[in-house]
Symmetry: C2
Subunit: 219 residues, 2 copies
Amino acid sequence: MTSAYQEELGILNHQLVEIANLVGTAMNRDTKALLTADLTRAESVIQDDDRIDAMTSALEERCFDLIEQQQPSDRDLRYLIGALRIAASLERMGDLARHVAKQMRLRYPRLTVPDELHSTFTLMGSIAEAIVSKTGEVIRTQDVTLAADISVSDEEMDRLHRELFSIVMSNDWTHGVEAAIDVTLLSRYYERYADHAVSVTRRVISSVTGEPYAGIALD
Amino acid sequence: MTSAYQEELGILNHQLVEIANLVGTAMNRDTKALLTADLTRAESVIQDDDRIDAMTSALEERCFDLIEQQQPSDRDLRYLIGALRIAASLERMGDLARHVAKQMRLRYPRLTVPDELHSTFTLMGSIAEAIVSKTGEVIRTQDVTLAADISVSDEEMDRLHRELFSIVMSNDWTHGVEAAIDVTLLSRYYERYADHAVSVTRRVISSVTGEPYAGIALD
């Protein structure tokens, strides 16, 4: 491998981190927009997702070129294939952030999240923020020891998602079917977002260790 | 490229078709299980998903080996990367089929789908069946002209999903919040399943034509 090639891989990795940051910013804005019915912020998430999509497409093409151009070493090839997968997960995280923004916009100027779920979504937002920031760190440093923290946060997100189900299905729920469906979908977007972050870290682990990727159920 | 290599690619393609068939069988069983509260059938879907996961993992490893073993031509490399992506989409379709089965099992022996949505889910099941069968055909034959049919079916699925929303959110809905959330999630699983099928056909197109993949919003 030439050092120019290694430099290209470094640039690629830098771009993955950049996309992870954008995807993180999108979800942070979403949480704020959701809890304050801030339409401008939601609109900016929707617009920025086009940029995320364009960046991931360009990055995919670049991976493809790099695989073709030179016969990469086993390790570099594993990295490039991992990068393709990570880009796909990040793109989906961006889509999920866009879904949240669109759901909020649908009910604007009403608040989509009733008062008693305010703290749940605040927590979900914090967890999403922590997860995506560590995910960016894992991509940047290839330090796979952070994966355990990310898994713990993901479990906490799952717990909040289940808790929300029991809240909206209880007899105390007074906001009707539409609000119940809205918050269930929103909660699912946050939960899937965290799942994709876990998937990204597992791809990095697999790319670093050469062990097969340990899948996580995604859809 | 040696002819042994071409033969390997042929086997790989055959395996992708096989996974597509399994994923199709799973969703067909789901629809029957859902509409008749047939627990045995639902359980078989849940069990078979482990097989689908194992097959996709094995296939991923095989793609990886084939990329490494020989310096594939541009076309073969495009095919192998496409195959990796298609396997990931099929695996997710299998996960979605498992989600449907688990949702049905959660409410068993009650029917999860109220009478007035029976025809909606019957239709969604037929569309899923048609879509996945054509998707298998596209993978098998690389005949991309079928993609237009698949897109039309996907649009019909989207329409049914939106229609279901308006049914559960109308004042005529008498089944309460839990049932509303159940059918919304189920409908979403069918709709995502169709989206992933569209994504698979676009991957085949991109692999055949060499044009960049035209993405579809997935999460």
